[in-house]
């Protein structure tokens, strides 16, 4: 009767038995499935655990939505009281016009088709289309909403997750030399905005380059790109 914790931080492959569960209180996230008492991995990746939930972390290009994910979406069409948003999964998500802080019938948000929005996944079930919200759980704005200007790049989901970490090497190294704004969506989209166009492109390229680099390599890459950019002026 091995518990799930024995294989945490180990590589698992599809079909591999990860452990046994005999009582409740454990949440199985992506990449794990339960057959009676046994838990089997369905994806190839590393088994991770956070609080009481277990999941398989892997590097995939395709985003699969889950609740409380922070994503970048592009508005594709407008319905009466909501918008259809493309977040990169197989179905377009819905964003209600009332899920903004302080929105009422008279005071509705008005976003044109094609705008980029930073939102939170409110509902993500396989039987329904995903629903988004531009409010945090407590109902505050907290950085959600439309993003003006800047430049959005697409990347793998694991690069996006790495950028969300507080000690992300590439974002901190860039921040030491260039002032910029960044919004990271776990659906593999990163939005960057700096004061000039060259800096914006520089930041975007640095982030994309840093995917397979170690922290030391990332530092030296960022420093050399910033230096090259300055010497061009």
């Amino acid at each position: 009767m091995s518990s799930l914790t024995t294989k945490v931080n180990h590589v698992v492959t599809p079909g591999e038995t990860v452990g046994e569960v005999d009582k409740g209180g454990i949440r199985l996230g992506q990449g794990l499935i339960q057959y009676q008492n046994t838990v089997v991995a369905t994806k190839a990746g590393v088994l991770r655990s956070k609080n009481d939930s277990f999941f398989v972390e892997n590097n995939q290009k395709r985003y699969v939505p889950s609740v409380d994910d922070l994503v970048l979406g592009i508005i594709t069409s407008r319905l009466t009281e909501s918008w259809k948003v493309d977040i990169g999964c197989h179905e377009h998500a819905t964003l209600s016009m009332y899920s903004f802080e302080g929105a009422t019938k008279k005071n509705r948000a008005d976003l044109p088709v094609g705008s980029l929005v930073y939102c939170r996944v409110k509902v993500a079930s396989r039987d329904m289309e995903p629903e988004l919200s531009c409010m945090s759980v407590k109902g505050k704005k907290e950085g959600f909403g439309p993003l003006e200007g800047g430049y959005m790049v697409k990347c793998d989901t694991c690069l996006a997750r790495d950028c969300l970490a507080e000690d992300s090497t590439v974002l901190n190294a860039l921040g030491a030399s260039i002032p910029y704004e960044v919004a990271v969506g776990v659906n593999g989209r990163i939005w960057v905005k700096a004061t000039t166009i060259e800096n914006t492109i520089l930041v975007a390229n640095c982030i994309l380059n840093s995917q397979h680099m170690s922290p030391e390599q990332t530092q030296s890459m960022v420093q050399s790109m910033v230096r090259q950019n300055k010497s061009k002026r």
Partner: protein
């Protein structure tokens, strides 16, 4: 008919293998930028390339299923893949049959209930055919699907076996296949040994059938070990190159 015997008196086949030896495998995953998952797979001289997209929006909304993903499989042989230049590359009967067979194999192993109203596309391209193309395609597609992160119950591994001179031979190449030996491709889920595909051309006695099938299943388990270690080492590589924040 064979002008040379398939297994010499010393027990060696034409390419120097023993009757129970599978050909040499070469696996490369994650080749394409645009595809969600991809794999290049070589089994001896048979070379196969697979690209997988999904789960993504269904192309024809009428084909969407409300409770599961639709799997769309296209098998294609490049015109330069066989000895003679193939003129008709689209719409041949064999192509349609293989596309359907491989689609059914993956419908049994991919967890399609996790992505209703979506579509998973598997594109198989045979670059060089030297026997065992459908088995090579299934193995390569399994690896490409794992590369794409699409959830599966287990690996699916395929291998073919034949029969010559009272003993089964595993993993036939083109010469052995066309020399009149019966060809039995088998696909299994290695953990449970469940068979998801079993085909046979020509005739076999019921007693020899069991032996040939066991030989093919054995070959599948050997290929499984190679595929498993390729997946593990690639996953470990990706983990090492990215930082982790858990």
């Amino acid at each position: 008919m064979a002008t040379r015997e398939l297994v010499s008196p010393e027990g060696l086949r034409i390419d120097g293998r023993r009757p129970n030896e599978v050909r040499q495998l070469m696996i490369k995953m994650g080749l394409f930028n645009r595809a969600d998952g991809s794999c290049y797979y070589e089994q001896g001289n048979t070379k196969v390339l697979v690209a997988v997209y999904g789960p993504r929006e269904v192309t024809h909304s009428a084909r969407a299923k409300h409770d599961r993903a639709v799997i769309n499989c296209e098998y294609n042989m490049a015109p330069f893949s066989t000895g003679e230049h193939k003129k008709k590359s689209k719409g041949s009967r064999r192509q349609a049959e293989l596309s359907l067979v491989i689609q059914q194999v993956f419908e049994a192993v991919i967890l399609t209930e996790l992505a209703p109203r979506s579509q998973i596309d598997i594109y198989l391209q045979v670059l060089q055919a030297d026997g065992g193309t459908r088995c090579a395609c299934i193995n390569a597609a399994c690896l490409a699907i794992i590369d794409a992160g699409i959830p599966m119950k287990d690996f699916v591994v395929a291998c073919a076996a034949g029969y010559y001179d009272k003993s089964p031979i595993v993993d036939l190449n083109f010469y052995e296949d066309s020399s009149g030996s019966p060809d039995m491709p088998v696909a299994i889920l290695p953990k449970s040994g469940t068979i998801t595909m079993l085909q046979m051309d020509s005739k076999l006695h019921t007693e020899t059938f069991e032996a040939v099938m066991e030989c093919a299943v054995d070959g599948c388990q050997k290929i499984y070990e190679v595929m498993l270690s390729a997946v593990r080492s690639r996953t470990q590589e990706l983990v090492n190159s990215n930082s982790s924040n858990f």
